[in-house]
């Protein structure tokens, strides 16, 4: 089993505007722990740095500072060659994440072949069908030769999940896996991911902007605002007892059946006024400085 320790992750992007160069800090000292069998939800609005963290974790981007350490239970670290096998990702848009040119079989057979999980030919084929059945795509023999455009969004996302798990992934980064799907099939895909997580004891990072599914699906929630963690804690605590202004705003935006005629953000909120200099840690029960190295973060006092 594999766990991931993300420490003080920083990612800067340089924005060139004519001759002027400005620096945009997309991720500012974010620390996360992903442990086997647990799901951490990363919640935040567009541009808060969620996807940047996913890209760094899957090694599509290099962090400006900070470390990502992937460790097995026996204390060995996962090296470069094994990284691609152990850390996998499910993308947001199932219509873009499968190559329209290739069959479903190709998408699942390639990871198997790259990591030498199966021998060429019949063994790979059998394994592909097995993977398809694991993600409830039946009859697998019928699905395998099809091409992505012949499948529905939910089916495609199942294929994407099967592809991610094919090399034997232990860490799964799910970047808004259900946001492009019909509401009616979201739960099915999430429950499938939950089942696979239990079966394989996966460590899952669930990236979303939807608090309801975050609470349903995850054990721990980390709220991100403009690159900084502003609140973290057990899923229920964060949602039922939000401390940070932005988390409160998010929680208020979720429909509540108990309170019909819910209050929406009646006054337009001044986004720039939201303070992301401190983070409420439900585990410690106190406010801490945000945007500084985790070891140096001091407790601060805040009114709310």
């Amino acid at each position: 089993m594999t766990s991931v320790h993300v420490t003080d992750l920083v990612k800067d992007y340089t924005i060139r505007n004519g001759l002027k160069r400005t620096r945009l800090r997309a991720v500012d000292h974010v620390s996360l722990e992903l442990t086997p069998g647990r799901t951490v939800a990363l919640v935040g609005e567009s541009g808060s740095g969620k996807s940047t963290i996913a890209k760094i974790l899957t090694r599509m981007e290099k962090p400006t500072a900070g470390t990502v350490a992937v460790e097995r239970d026996d204390g060995t670290t996962v090296d470069r060659s094994a990284y691609r096998r152990e850390v996998q990702m499910v993308f947001q848009d199932p219509f873009a994440s499968l190559n329209p040119f290739h069959s479903i079989e190709h998408h699942i057979a390639r990871p198997l072949r790259i990591h030498n999980r199966t021998a060429k030919g019949e063994e790979t084929r059998e394994r592909v069908l097995e993977m398809l059945e694991r993600v409830n795509l039946t009859p697998a023999a019928n699905i395998a030769p099809r091409r992505p455009h012949e499948l529905s969004g939910g089916q495609r996302q199942r294929v994407a999940i099967a592809r991610a798990l094919a090399p034997g992934a232990k860490v799964l980064i799910a970047d808004e896996p259900v946001s492009m799907l019909d509401v009616s099939i979201r739960l099915g895909v999430l429950n499938l991911m939950g089942r696979l997580q239990r079966e394989d004891d996966l460590a899952v990072l669930y990236i979303t902007h939807d608090l309801a599914t975050a609470r349903h699906f995850s054990d721990e929630i980390t709220v991100l605002y403009r690159g900084r963690v502003v609140e973290r804690g057990p899923a229920d605590a964060v949602i039922l007892d939000p401390h940070h202004e932005y988390t409160k705003l998010l929680a208020a935006a979720a429909p509540d059946p108990e309170r019909p005629g819910r209050v929406t953000a009646a006054d337009p909120v001044d986004r720039d006024a939201i303070d992301n200099s401190a983070c409420y840690d439900h585990f410690a029960g106190e406010w801490r400085e945000a945007g500084v190295p985790a070891a140096e973060a001091k407790a601060v006092t805040r009114a709310d």
């Binding site: 993308f91 873009a96 040119f101 990591h115 091409r147």
Partner: protein
């Protein structure tokens, strides 16, 4: 009643055709990715393919069926006859035999240059765009430099520089390829930049695919229509370019192409002597082959840009509707009372 029949018949046929069309579109799913790349058969595509196949067959098989194109006879310039279908040149050489050999030479040049130019543009366009950053900058600059080099003057200079005896088919082909790949490379670069940023490319990278495999297996198939269209275009450009070079006497020595035929026709005062059988056939072959390739290219364009296809189908339906309307109006005019009576009875 009877006069309504002719109007109803075409409409039935039309709806049957429409049905066939829709069932072909939504029917059995196409299994292989390669099928997706094939253009739909249209009259234009059929004509284009017909022209290409006919001229290619003439170029490939023709030389074995005709006599020696260099054989000189003491009959001088004669028009088409039973013995010499396309007449003879000033020195009594068989124009048909020359035409067969020249077509073969031109096709050879066209295909060689097409392949070379496509390979060059694919390398500089796709690889540069995929690697990005410094490699892309350097390749882009290199492409742009070749893009602004005036092609024909450079070709003339290079061809003039290489001595005539070592100026073979391959020299000319390389010269033409080197001056003609840059435009396609830029188009391919733009397309690759768009494809490279799609999620499925990222997904294959995340699953550990090697860069060359990502390029060849994941990106390249999605660029194939563009590459095919550019290959076709490169072939046309090469045949025309080679004809131009040969016509001004800078073509490959010891080879005969349609350009050299025109060069000799010009030198032999074919135009002023009114020997149309000497210069029209090579010109016509160039023109028809170019037409054929262009027609195929239009069909490939429909794969790249499906909107064009929808436009064509839309026009087809609009024409059909207009025809139907016209026929109905005619029927109403012809059998005015009967038509109104039937309408009333229907009411």
């Amino acid at each position: 009643m009877t006069n309504l029949k002719p109007t109803s018949e075409p409409s039935v046929a039309d709806s049957a055709e429409l049905l066939a069309e829709t069932s072909a579109e939504s029917g059995r799913p196409v299994r292989s990715g390669w099928r997706m790349l094939l253009p739909t058969m249209t009259p234009w595509l059929a004509i284009g393919l017909g022209l290409i196949v006919a001229i290619t067959l003439f170029g490939v098989i023709g030389p074995y069926l005709v006599g020696d194109p260099r054989a000189i006879r003491d009959m001088g310039l004669t028009g088409p006859s039973a013995d010499f279908w396309l007449g003879t040149t000033q020195t009594g050489q068989d124009v048909l035999a020359q035409l067969a050999h020249a077509t073969r030479g031109s096709l050879q040049i066209g295909v060689i240059v097409g392949l070379l130019a496509t390979a060059l543009s694919a390398f500089f366009g796709i690889y540069g765009a995929y690697r990005g950053r410094a490699v892309d900058e350097v390749f882009s600059l290199f492409t742009n430099v070749f893009l602004v080099i005036p092609g024909l003057p450079l070709v003339i200079v290079i061809s003039g520089f290489v001595p005539a005896e070592s100026r073979g088919l391959w020299t000319i082909a390389v010269v033409l390829a080197v001056t003609s790949w840059a435009g396609s490379a830029r188009v391919l670069r733009a397309q690759t930049l768009s494809v490279r940023n799609r999620d499925y490319v990222a997904a294959s990278q995340v699953s550990g695919e090697r860069p060359w495999r990502v390029i060849i297996v994941e990106i390249l198939p999605n660029l194939l229509p563009v590459i095919a269209s550019q290959f076709v275009f490169a072939v046309i450009a090469a045949i025309l370019g080679e004809a131009g070079l040969s016509f001004i006497g800078l073509g490959a020595s010891n080879s005969s192409t349609l350009g050299t035929m025109l060069f000799y026709a010009q030198n032999g005062f074919a135009l002023s002597l009114g020997a149309w059988w000497w210069f029209i056939p090579p010109g016509l072959i160039i023109a028809l082959f170019g037409t054929g390739l262009s027609l195929v290219n239009f069909s490939i364009d429909e794969i790249i840009n499906p909107k064009l296809k929808n436009l064509r189908l839309h026009r087809k339906r609009a024409r059909r509707a207009a025809r139907l309307e016209r026929e109905l109006a005619q029927a109403a005019r012809r059998g005015g009372p009967a038509a109104t009576a039937s309408k009333e009875s229907a009411r």
